[in-house]
């Protein structure tokens, strides 16, 4: 009895009838299934986990009940995780079980569809970054940054120790980076920024030949748009350091093309397209110059031909990977975020080039507009940084920022506290009507 309304007495997904089980036991000449387990008595587990079985319906109700404790807030959060509307098309197509339930494409002859989709994803990133190579996913931006550091360590001709990152960098990314380089001689150091962007003079002082990698983000975590990337890039190049740029597909649709400012590697979170806010689940974007082809971490899909000379796709350059190269692999990554990459490619395709550019432009104008409207409130000035912004900005509030954020939360809005008197607000994915309501709530709170 397999109904979803029925509580399982075993796994509801194991199809064996008692007769079948018995016939199979007979075939393997065993009296019972327990006999098949070659486990010494001393380590046999004879207790219970104490986990109740539930019907499918009860399980759904349980999860709905638990997650129902989450409050329904309008999120103006951002800072690396965005809630753009994902077209229904993406859900329906990505949920086709052929995509969802298949394994890594080690048998390309029966995986052409997924390989082609990943190839298209790689192509999207190549177009967005202007770099020649994009892999078909890392876990997220933070781990991609870590992988970039180990790449820098591998490809640099001479040894060096310093990795420079902006002082604004999200602590979480820096911490992840530090774990990735913990097994190397590399150390992570912050370089100072000024008014929410690179201070080129200070940076020039910080860069020397011991630097193996210089990391910058555009936009920054505060939503500001960098204006001196070329200068930073030049400093890195002069020091024979890799210039690594952090960004994402929406920003890249409008902002300077990384290749044009001398980026050697681009990392970031590509799931700003394709996933709704999902408690930080991401998709590590990783693109780099062709020079590093044999040192790239992660999987690559390439073009080849089949036995009938027809174009066919396949995972390629696998000798870089852990299942072949073991401890000399370019990364330990195996299971990655392929299905998220599929979703990202679908979302980008649904938007198309016009839609992408338009979305990014609106992220600039809507952030500007919101900043202006907050700036009009008494006791608020925004944006704090005298820069161009995309998606988000920092506002100064005369009252203590935590209290204001808390008050806003009771009114249904979530914002970041980034300083004693600084809040950060992000417009991405928030409808205009809700921004209006936010401004109204904000004005009440600071009144």
């Amino acid at each position: 009895m397999n109904g979803a309304e029925t509580r399982a007495s075993g796994s509801p997904y194991a199809p064996h009838t008692a007769d079948e089980r018995d016939a199979m036991l007979e075939a393997v000449e065993a009296d019972s299934i327990t006999d098949l387990f070659d486990i010494p008595d001393a380590v046999r587990f004879s207790d219970e986990f104490g986990i109740d079985a539930r019907t499918e319906r009860e399980t759904r109700r349980l999860v709905r009940s638990i997650l129902g404790r989450n409050e329904n807030l309008t999120e103006l959060l951002g800072r690396g995780h965005y809630g753009y509307y994902v077209p229904s098309l993406v859900d329906h197509l990505a949920d086709r079980s052929e995509f969802l339930t298949s394994y890594t494409q080690y048998q390309p002859e029966i995986s052409q569809g997924f390989l082609q989709a990943l190839f298209e994803y790689q192509s999207l990133l190549v177009e967005l970054t202007g770099l020649e190579i994009a892999n078909c996913s890392m876990y997220d931006a933070a781990t991609a940054l870590g992988e970039a550091a180990t790449l820098a360590d591998r490809v640099r001709d001479t040894s060096g120790h310093r990795i420079l990152v902006p002082d604004l960098l999200r602590e979480e990314r820096r911490s992840t980076l530090e774990n990735y380089v913990a097994g190397t001689d590399l150390i992570v150091e912050a370089y100072p920024t000024a008014d929410g962007a690179i201070d080129v003079d200070e940076l020039a002082d910080a860069v020397d030949e011991d630097v193996v990698m210089l990391y910058a983000e555009n936009p920054t975590v505060r939503g500001t748009i960098e204006e001196r990337l070329d200068a930073a890039s030049e400093l890195a190049t002069d020091a024979d350091a890799l210039f690594v740029l952090g960004s994402d597909p929406v920003a890249l649709s409008l902002l300077q093309r990384p290749a044009d400012v001398g980026a050697d590697v681009v990392i970031g979170d590509a799931s700003v397209l394709g996933l709704p806010t999902s408690y930080g689940m991401g998709l590590g974007l990783f693109a780099c110059r062709e020079d590093y082809l044999r040192q790239v971490p992660g999987r690559l899909v390439g073009v080849s031909e089949d036995a009938t000379d027809r174009r066919a796709f396949t995972l390629t350059l696998q000798t870089r990977e852990q299942h072949i190269r073991r401890e000399r692999a370019t990364s330990n990554i195996c299971t990655n975020q392929a299905w998220v990459a599929l979703r990202t490619a679908m979302h980008a395709a649904a938007l198309g080039p016009n839609g992408l550019v338009d979305l990014a432009k609106r992220d600039v104008t809507r952030a500007e507009n919101l900043a202006e409207r907050l700036d009009d409130l008494v006791g608020v000035s925004a944006p704090v940084h005298d820069r161009h912004h995309i998606r988000e900005f920092v506002a100064h509030v005369d009252q203590p920022a935590p209290a204001i954020a808390e008050d806003l939360e009771t009114r249904g809005f979530a914002v970041h506290v980034v300083g004693k008197h600084e809040l950060q607000c992000c417009v991405a994915g928030v409808p205009d009507t809700e921004l209006d309501a936010f401004v109204a709530a904000f004005s009440e709170v600071v009144r």
Partner: protein, 483 residues
């Protein structure tokens, strides 16, 4: 039928210029991508999906991959709007998310016999890396920073080697004994005051239970090392044995294997890590716990699956472990995958989980008894490694595709010549196993030429790997002249 690339259907170049809200020098000049309508995209991706073999297409006995059926309802719970929250929300406003994470930590702790669990690692290899980093931090904390070696059996998953190396360790490779298990003498020789950890899968990649596991644990612990459990094969043991009870200090769980979350063509997975109490202070930050004002005070010390029908009234909070290694993911890992894993475990419960392992082991044994290829090592559990003998295992796999089934993992572990590493999982019926065995056996009788020409009934015929790697073309920009 061939499906053109999106770029072969359309390329539209958009100039940024005119109405840009930014100065020219801060923007790119143009963006050239396909501009296609929703109906066109629906057809494109529908067609692509038709060129993929998934778990709903037929048996998928990839050894070491535990390709279970992915229950449909787990997609529904992950799609709940209430599952969609920003990672920087206040803890007070996402008590549902925190409760689910806490409950899942609790479930996993019980299942693995571990005292504390982190859900942050986004995949199994990331879990291994966390284990390695935790071990390193632990040794460092104890003034044992000189330990610079991690021992890994020859037959281990490639990620073990790579994760240890990423953690800065020298990898010491450990040979198997004649019966396919850890060679205790070799282990003894390998262990020293340099040993940071031994990484072990149990059952191992041959499907064999390491019978001497207690002794192995003692040996490792005696030299001050830690014992790491690679959870890839946990589906063999649910309800029968627990790594924590065997002496393992740290382990990862592959939720996309053992707990049936979909593999998604390569990911996302999730690789939670469980540890014994001594290692808990080193786990990644932040972790989730029941707040002290409530009835529950930890993530694994409650005695039963409380409040079965709905949410609790417990308050949950995030905290940083005392000696945390910091973060290994920008946020909290692959949340949506964790929701599915929670739902799977909550659906099956004790009996379902134990039955899953029971049937997985039964299926592997039954399938092995039905195929004509020899299986040199046993007794095995959820998977076995057959030998293709004189045939090329990779060719055998290609030919199996022509019989409409997915082949096993091939040529690994190398201890078995021309290995066919086979793991049917519990979801296959006797009928399906018979059909799968028939495919194995048909191929076993075919000649080398037939195998070398295979596959012939697939979307693409045999694909030339050499030319793909020799002159890599990795984006449609490199196909401009072809299209």
């Amino acid at each position: 039928q061939y499906e053109p690339l999106l770029s072969e259907k359309d390329r539209t170049r958009v100039e940024i210029g005119d109405d840009s809200p930014l100065p020219d020098d801060l923007t790119r000049d143009e963006l050239e991508l396909p501009a296609l309508s929703e109906p066109e995209l629906a057809r494109h991706y529908t067609r692509l999906s038709q060129m993929i073999y998934g778990i709903d297409s037929g048996p998928y006995p990839l050894g070491s991959c535990t390709m279970k059926y992915n229950p449909k309802f787990t997609e529904d719970v992950a799609a709940l709007p209430s599952a969609s929250v920003h990672p920087d929300r206040s803890a007070a406003s996402i008590q549902g998310t925190l409760e689910l994470l806490s409950r899942l930590q609790d479930y996993l702790g019980r299942i693995g016999g571990m005292d504390a669990v982190t859900l942050q690692p986004p995949a199994g290899a990331a879990g291994e890396f966390v284990g390695i980093r935790v071990a390193a931090a632990y040794h460092e904390h104890n003034g044992e920073g000189h330990r610079d070696e991690v021992i890994v059996p020859e037959s281990a998953h490639g990620t073990n080697f790579a994760s240890a190396a990423l953690g800065g360790y020298d990898v010491v490779s450990l040979p198997s004994d004649d019966e396919g298990r850890v060679d205790l003498d070799a282990l003894d020789a390998a262990l020293s005051e340099h040993t940071a950890a031994l990484m072990l899968t149990n059952p191992n990649t041959l499907g064999l239970f390491e019978r001497d596991i207690e002794k192995i644990a003692d040996m490792v612990h005696d030299v001050g090392g830690l014992l790491y459990y690679d959870g890839a094969n946990l589906n063999a043991l649910l309800g029968r044995a627990r790594p924590g009870d065997m002496g393992f200090d740290v382990m990862h769980y592959n939720v996309h294997k053992t707990f049936a979350t979909p593999h998604g063509g390569g990911g996302p997975g999730a690789g939670p890590v469980g540890v014994v109490d001594e290692l808990a202070p080193f786990l990644p930050a932040p972790r989730v716990r029941a707040a002290e004002d409530g009835a529950r005070t930890g993530d694994s010390d409650s005695a039963s699956d409380s409040a079965g029908a709905g949410a609790s009234e417990q308050r949950y909070e995030l905290f940083d472990p005392e000696h945390t290694i910091g973060k290994v993911h920008g946020f909290q890992g692959n949340w949506l995958v964790l929701v599915k894993a929670f739902a799977y475990i909550a659906r099956l419960g004790d009996e379902g989980l134990a039955d899953a392992s029971a049937k997985a082991v039964l299926n592997a044994n039954y399938l092995a008894s039905r195929i004509e290829f020899s299986v040199p090592y046993g007794p095995f559990h959820h998977e076995f490694v057959a030998s293709a003998g004189e045939q090329d295992a990779a060719d055998v796999a290609k030919r199996m595709l022509d019989y409409g089934v997915h082949p096993p993992t091939t040529k690994w572990p190398e201890i078995v010549p021309e290995a066919l590493m086979t793991e049917p999982t519990e979801v296959e019926s006797k009928d399906t196993l018979d059909r799968l065995a028939a495919a194995f056996n048909a191929v076993a009788r075919e000649d080398d030429e037939t195998l070398a020409d295979a596959p012939e009934r697939t979307t693409a015929r045999r694909i030339d790997q050499t030319s793909a790697a020799r002159s890599p073309r990795l984006s449609w920009h490199e196909l401009a002249d072809d299209s």
